[in-house]
Symmetry: C2
C-alpha cells in the first residue's frame, strides 16, 4: 500500500463535484467577460523563476535537473509562463490580450490550513491596456465570480492599494530608502508587532520619525492628505487609484472595494493598483486571493513593454471562504436513471439506456451481474432519480416498470414507448 | 526571452478552443455513462512505478528527489494513482467504482508526431466487476465518445484481443515459455520484421516450429480453431471474449470491434480483454489509444483483489484521427456582444454590458480607451456577433445603435429598453 505525498490531495467524486462546480463558476464568469482559455506546461526552466524572484526562490520550488540536463521546475505560478507566451507572439496577438486558465501549481512549502504543496488557481489577466478600465475589469470579474458563487458584500471585501503611492511617499522623504524593502515591510505590517514593523522601515532607510510619519499616512489612507504630502508621482498615483475606483463603480464592483494602503502584496513585480480579497467577518485572517497591475514584467522577459493586470483566485482559500459563508456547493452525485435488469433482458435494457443517454441523461446499467436487491442498493447509492426495471415477466407483457426513487411510487408502461420521443420521462409522465 | 521546454506545448486560445471542445465531449460522454470525475496529484512516489514496471521505467520518468528527501516522479499515467486511491478507501466505496478524469501526464521520451513529453489523457475506469458487461461498457463509452466527436465506423476500428488466449496458447505448447516476453513480442509484431518477431518468440522459449504454429494461430484468429488447440483456460478466455462482444452488441459498440489477437497492448498489467483503437484508413499507423482489463493490479498494490477495466484516450493522437477524418472542431473565438463607447458613455455602456452578461452572454467592452475604429477592429478580431454602439450623440436622443457584424446592418433602439427583458437581442430583434 502506497501513501500520497504530503501536501498533495486525492479528490474522490464526492469531493470533486463541488470543486468542479466552483471551477465552472469561475470559468463561466471569465468567459462572459471575454477572457479566453489557454493551457500551459507544468514544467519551465528554473532560470525563469530565478531571474524574476532571485536565487532564494529555488528553495520553494520543485526544481530538478531533467534527463536532458536542463534545470527545470514545476511551475509555482502562472505569471512567468504567460509573460513568456505573450513575448513569443507579441506582434501577432490582437490587444488587449485577455486570457484565463485553471490548473494546479506546486510549491515546496509548509503545509497548513488552506495551503498545500499542490494547489489550484484560476488565473485571469489582461495584457495591453494601461487604462483604469482594465484594472476595474479585473476587479469586476472577481466580484462577479464571488457573487456567482453565492457570496455577498457582507462576506468579502477587496482591499485596494497602489504601489506607486507607497513608493512615491517613500521617495518624498529626505532619505535614501530601499523602496522594495519598505514595501515588503508594509506587506508584513498586519502580521508583526508595530515595533518590528517600524524597525524594518528603519532598516529600509527611514529615520524613526520618518517611519512613524509614513506609517501614519499609510494607515490613515486619506488620499487628499497623501496627495498633498507627496510629489507629482504620488498625485498621479492617487488620481489613477481614483480613476480605477470610478471605473469599478461603472462596472459594478465599487461597493466591494475599500482603499487600504497597508495592502501591499508581497510580490515585487506589481507596479500600480494592487488588491487583496479578505473575509469581511475576519474569521479567515489571511488574504483569500489577490491581484494587481504588473506593467514591467513583459519587458523584463525580453518583450516590448506591455502593461498587464490580473488576479488569481486559489481554490483552497476560496473554499474556506465559501464554507465560512455557508455557500460551498453541496453537490451530491446525481444520476438520472438506473436501468435495472431482471433475468435475460440486457438487450432491451441496453436499448432504453442508449435512448436515454442520447437525450443527455446520466444513465447507469448493471455491469456486475447483480441481484435485484443489489442493483437497487447501488441505484440508491448513486442517487438515481428514476429506476427503470426491465424484468422478464413485465417484458412478457411488453411492459417495463418505472419507479420514482424519492416517493417509491412505481408503475408499468409499454416498453416500446419508453422513453419514446420524450427526453427524460419520469414516473409522473407515465403513470 | 525564455524558450519552452522540448516536448511541452503552449496552447493559445485559438488552439485551446477545439481542445476544450474535444475534452468536453469526452467528459460529457463519460458523465452520461455514470463515470464520476476525480482529481489526482501530479507527483507520486517513484517506488510505485518501479514496483509496477521495474527499475528500467525510471529512465522514462521525470523522477527526482524532493526537498524532503523523497524519491518522486511526475505521474506518467493514471492507473497506479487510481489503484492507490481504490486501495485507500476500498471498503467504503460502493461498487462498481466508475471514475474518469482528464489531465496531463509526463514521460521523458523521444518527441515525435502526436507524441509529447507532456500529454493529456481522459482516463475512464470501472473497478469491481469481472463481468463482460464492464468490458463492454468501456468499449461502448469509447465508441460513443468517438461518435460524439463526429467519427463514424468508416473512420476507426477497435482491435480486440484477450491476454489469456495468448498466454493460454503459449502454455499449450510443450515448452518452458516466458509468457510476458512472448506477449511483448506479439505487441511488437506489426512494427518489426517477421524473422525478428519469430526470433523474439524463440528467445521467449518456443521452438521455431512452435513459434510458426503460434503465429499462425494468432494471425488467423479463428476462435474455434484456437479453442480446440488450447486447453480449458484458452476455451474460457475465448468464451469470455465472445461474451464481451455479445454485451458490446447490446451496448451498441459491436460494429466497431474486430477480433485481432495480434493486438497485445505492451503494458504487462493487462489480464483479460484488451483493445486498441486504430484509424480504419491506415493513414495513422500507430494505435490511437487502447484499454483493457487489469484484474490483478489492485491486489499487487496491497488491496483486496478487485477486478478492473479501463481506457485512456489521449488528446494528441485523437486530434490526429479527428484531423485525418476532417472532424477536428473548428472552434473560432466567439463573442456575443462588443459594447462600444464613443465619448463619455462608460456608465451606460457598462450597464448594458452587465445586463447582457447576467443573461449568460459573452460581452466585451473597451478597457483601452480606444477610438471608434480601433474598437471596431477589436470587435471584429474576437468575432463579435453584435456591436452595441453607445455614443454621446445617440444618448442625447436616449438611443443606442445595434449593429449586426455579419451583414453590417445597424439601427438605433431606445437605450432604456436595451436589452430589456430579452436575453440576447440582436439587430433583427430591434430593427
Amino acid at each position: 500500500m502506497y501513501d500520497r505525498l504530503k501536501g498533495f490531495r486525492d479528490f474522490y467524486p464526492e469531493e470533486m463535484a463541488p470543486r468542479r462546480e466552483v471551477i465552472d463558476t469561475l470559468e463561466s464568469t471569465a468567459t462572459r467577460y471575454g477572457f479566453r482559455e489557454i493551457s500551459t506546461p507544468a514544467l519551465e526552466r528554473t532560470q525563469m523563476y530565478v531571474d524574476k524572484s532571485g536565487e532564494a526562490i529555488v528553495e520553494e520550488l520543485y526544481a530538478f535537473e531533467d534527463k536532458g540536463g536542463r534545470e527545470v521546475s514545476l511551475t509555482p505560478e502562472l505569471t512567468p509562463t504567460v509573460a513568456r507566451m505573450v513575448v513569443a507572439k507579441q506582434q501577432e496577438l490582437s490587444k488587449p490580450i485577455k486570457w484565463c486558465s485553471t490548473r494546479p501549481f506546486w510549491r515546496f512549502e509548509q503545509v497548513q490550513q488552506g495551503r498545500f504543496r499542490e494547489f489550484y488557481q484560476t488565473n485571469v489577466d489582461v495584457f495591453g491596456s494601461a487604462e483604469p478600465e482594465a484594472d476595474a475589469e479585473i476587479l469586476a470579474f472577481a466580484a462577479d465570480a464571488l457573487a456567482d458563487l453565492g457570496l455577498t458584500g457582507d462576506d468579502f471585501e477587496f482591499r485596494v492599494s497602489h504601489r506607486d503611492i507607497l513608493s512615491g511617499l517613500l521617495a518624498a522623504f529626505d532619505a535614501d530608502v530601499d523602496a522594495t524593502a519598505a514595501i515588503r515591510a508594509v506587506d508584513k505590517r498586519a502580521k508583526i508587532e508595530q515595533a518590528e514593523y517600524l524597525g524594518l522601515l528603519s532598516d529600509a532607510g527611514l529615520s524613526s520619525e520618518q517611519a512613524e510619519r509614513f506609517d501614519d499616512l499609510v494607515a490613515r489612507g486619506d488620499l487628499d492628505e497623501i496627495a498633498e504630502f507627496g510629489g507629482e508621482d504620488v498625485r498621479d498615483a492617487v488620481e489613477n487609484l481614483r480613476d480605477v475606483l470610478a471605473a469599478a463603480e461603472d462596472f459594478g464592483a465599487r461597493e466591494y472595494c475599500n482603499v487600504s494602503l497597508t495592502t501591499a502584496r508581497g510580490l515585487d513585480y506589481y507596479t500600480g493598483v494592487v488588491f487583496e480579497c479578505f473575509d469581511s467577518t475576519g474569521e479567515i485572517s489571511r488574504s483569500v486571493f489577490g491581484g494587481g497591475r504588473y506593467d514591467d514584467l513583459i519587458e523584463s522577459f525580453g518583450g516590448q513593454p506591455i502593461p498587464a493586470v490580473g488576479v488569481a483566485p486559489g481554490l483552497a482559500p476560496l473554499s474556506l471562504l465559501c464554507q465560512r459563508a455557508g455557500v460551498w456547493p453541496e453537490e451530491a452525485l446525481t444520476t438520472d436513471y438506473y436501468v435495472l435488469t431482471v433475468g435475460d433482458t440486457r438487450d432491451v435494457a441496453s436499448r432504453i439506456a442508449r435512448d436515454l443517454r442520447a437525450s443527455g441523461n446520466v444513465v447507469e446499467v448493471d455491469v456486475s451481474d447483480r441481484s435485484f436487491g443489489a442493483q437497487m442498493g447501488y441505484a440508491d447509492s448513486v442517487n438515481a432519480e428514476t429506476v427503470v426495471i426491465v424484468g422478464e415477466q413485465d417484458l412478457a407483457n411488453d411492459e417495463v416498470t418505472v419507479k420514482d426513487m424519492s416517493s417509491g411510487d412505481q408503475t408499468t408502461t409499454p416498453v416500446e414507448a419508453f422513453p419514446g420521443d420524450r427526453d427524460a420521462p419520469t414516473y409522473d409522465d407515465v403513470v
